[in-house]
């Protein structure tokens, strides 16, 4: 049999691309960002029964299928004019909390930790999860794997299937849980809370106790004063599953708070000639270009934005961590992009605590799990917080519930403009006349990208099984000066 060498194609759609053009003097003239996008989903969904959407939409993304399943199921509640039973809502939120524990765990240890634990200047060969475990110990590595595994068991048990849940129905869920399952979920929740606390301690030891890192987090290069978006409950506390979308300005003042049905009154999308990406912005503030500040409609929808947009966390230990973060960062809102990693860990602890609360809820094992819809379907909107940003599903159907129109704003899309701005600013600050362009320097530019964890065509899992990223720098004559590729052999 032939032995082959993997040589992934470097197509435009195939990977994330940051391209930097320099002036004659070596300073940055222009920065461009390309993120691949999948095409034709809206058309693909037309003509299909709306009740299939929770199954279909979760295939859009290989990283957060649970988020699409949940936003879609909520859109169906709205579409069929039916409210879920109280137990069904709690089961959905329980599964969703477990999903958050797994997703935030993966992001922190795989993506964020290598830059800090192994170091931003370490060679790429060491700057990965293996390097992290080599430094912090096998025990923690085992805890990462175990936390994910146990919470995947919850997703499978509650959702009916691993990874791709099939339990969401208009008006409720398809399956109740029994006492034995509940007891096991409670045990897993307890150990997840411990794991959440442990992860915050790792952040404390590795990042906060290292002055150079803390200075980097607080530096102007990684600061961006944009609006913050996040779902909040009736007390304005962070909620991933339900509530209203609240937008708070860089000055900490609330701009608006909207229900899912009102999203089009608040969000518009900007199109630029140099990319097929769309840039959502706040309609009421308006598009003023790729600039931050109170007069620019650019907003962020990230873990840090969610904490900035809320008045606090609904669980005690996460609230404690929330207070500590803002007192360390000098108050609210915090506009430090790298603090997104910290916010993500606070959300991890919140998700685990919420999971524990729900597992102890007396209603959670009730069999009253569905209200059967009786009204004619017409239009529905569902919003949840996906780990990578506010996720909106909007369907319009005929009276038989067949999809006529479908519009989705996915988590990453919200962040296209701020992501671009963060990278541009880092590039301009790090690449200066006379400064040698090293791999560590380019990695620092990438560090402006990582907190957002953009979902580049993440439904695509063609080998080599990772999503490549490339940074290329051109001089004033258009000659390639330096290229840093990750995941491109």
């Amino acid at each position: 049999m032939k032995r082959i060498i993997i040589d992934p194609i470097t197509r435009l759609e195939g990977h994330g691309k940051i391209t930097i053009f320099l002036n004659e003097d070596g300073s940055v003239a222009n920065t461009y960002l390309q993120i691949p996008e999948l095409r034709g989903f809206e058309k693909f969904s037309e003509g299909r029964p709306a009740e299939d959407m929770p199954q279909i939409t979760q295939r859009i993304c290989g990283v957060c299928p649970e988020a699409h399943h949940m936003a879609s199921t909520k859109a169906l509640d709205d579409l069929f004019h039916v409210e879920s039973t109280s137990t069904a809502k709690k089961l959905r939120e329980l599964l969703y909390s477990s999903f958050y524990v797994t997703d935030h765990t993966t992001h922190f240890y795989i993506l964020a930790a290598p830059d800090f634990v192994v170091g931003p200047d370490a060679p790429p060969a060491e700057r990965n999860i293996l390097g992290v475990i080599a430094k912090v110990g096998l025990e923690l590595g085992g805890a990462v794997i175990n936390t994910r595994k146990q919470n995947h068991w919850i997703i499978q048990t509650v959702g009916g299937r691993p990874i791709h849940p099939c339990f969401g129905l208009p008006g409720g869920v398809s399956k109740a849980i029994n006492e034995e399952e509940r007891a096991k979920i409670e045990e897993i929740a307890k150990s997840s809370v411990e794991f959440g606390k442990l992860s915050l301690k790792v952040f404390d030891d590795v990042v906060l106790k290292n002055k150079a890192y803390l200075d980097m987090v607080l530096s102007d290069t990684f600061t961006q004063k944009s609006y913050n978006m996040g779902l909040v409950d009736k007390d304005n506390k962070v909620n991933f599953y339900d509530g209203k979308v609240r937008v708070v300005g860089p000055d900490g003042k609330e701009l608006c708070k909207y229900a899912p049905r009102e999203y089009l009154e608040h969000i518009a999308e900007r199109v630029e000639p140099w990319t097929y990406l769309k840039f959502p912005y706040l309609k009421k503030v308006g598009w003023k270009g790729f600039v931050d500040g109170k007069d620019s409609g650019v907003y962020r929808a990230t873990p840090l934005s969610r904490l900035n947009a809320a008045d606090g966390m609904a669980t005690p230990q996460a609230q404690e961590a929330y207070d500590k973060m803002y007192s360390t960062l000098g108050g609210k809102p915090a506009n430090f992009t790298l603090a997104t990693h910290w916010a993500r860990l606070i959300e991890l602890l919140y998700a685990a605590e919420r999971l524990l609360e729900l597992s102890r809820d007396p209603e959670i094992t009730s069999t009253d799990i569905r209200n059967i819809p009786t009204a004619k379907p017409d239009e529905g909107v569902g919003i949840v917080e996906a780990p990578r940003g506010t996720l909106t599903h909007h369907y319009i159907t005929d009276e038989k519930g067949v999809i006529k129109k479908c519009n989705l704003i996915v988590g990453t899309t919200n962040n296209h403009a701020p992501l671009f701005m963060s990278i541009k600013k880092a590039a301009e600050d790090f690449i200066k006349p006379g400064v040698k362009i090293t791999e560590g320097l380019l990695n620092r530019i990438e560090m402006a990208w990582r907190p957002y964890d953009p979902c580049m065509s993440c439904a695509t899992h063609a080998l080599p099984g990772q999503l490549p990223l490339e940074v290329t720098i051109y001089d004033a004559q258009g000659k390639e000066l330096k290229k840093l590729s990750q995941g491109i052999s």
Binding site: M1, K2, I4, I5, I6, D7, P8, I9, R11, E13, G14, G16, P36, L38, R39, G40, F41, K43, F44, R59, G62, V63, P65, T106, I110, L111, P124, A125, N128, I129, L130, I133, L138, G141, G142, I145, R148, P162, I163, E446, R450, D453, C455, M456, S457, C458, A459, T460, H461, A462, L463, P464, G465, Q466, L467, P468, L469, Q486, G487, S489
Partner: protein, 151 residues
Amino acid sequence: MKTLVLGLGNPILSDDGVGIRVAQEVGEKLKDPQITVAETSEAGLSLLDSIVGNDKVIIIDAIQTEKGQAGQIYRMGAEDFSLTKHLSSPHQINLATALELGKMLNLAMPQEITVFAVEAKDITNFSEKCTPEVEQVIPEVVKMVLKELNE
């Protein structure tokens, strides 16, 4: 011997779903309780979660190479991924790193991992169908996987 046949990819993204199509067809032809057939659209750590505890694993996935022809079939061992294993990734970890991590943490890793990959043409447009070039080689890949299972 506990064996896992794992189809990787996205069943609604044209050729990206070829691995899942093959796994489904293989599943229909098998009755051995020692063999599990599964599918997933997740990569990296989730891949590790899926394969732990099996003795033998066969993975079927789509691939895009620089000079490949759509429909071309490759059979590889996990060692063929060593080229990329130490590169960090913007989103997840690749198969080789996941395997190394499993070993490092002393998890019950399979002794044997074989990967069948089919050269894809379209992995950016949503469709439940593969392109004709890929569609026509599915029976052959199914045959290869079944043969591998009998060895």
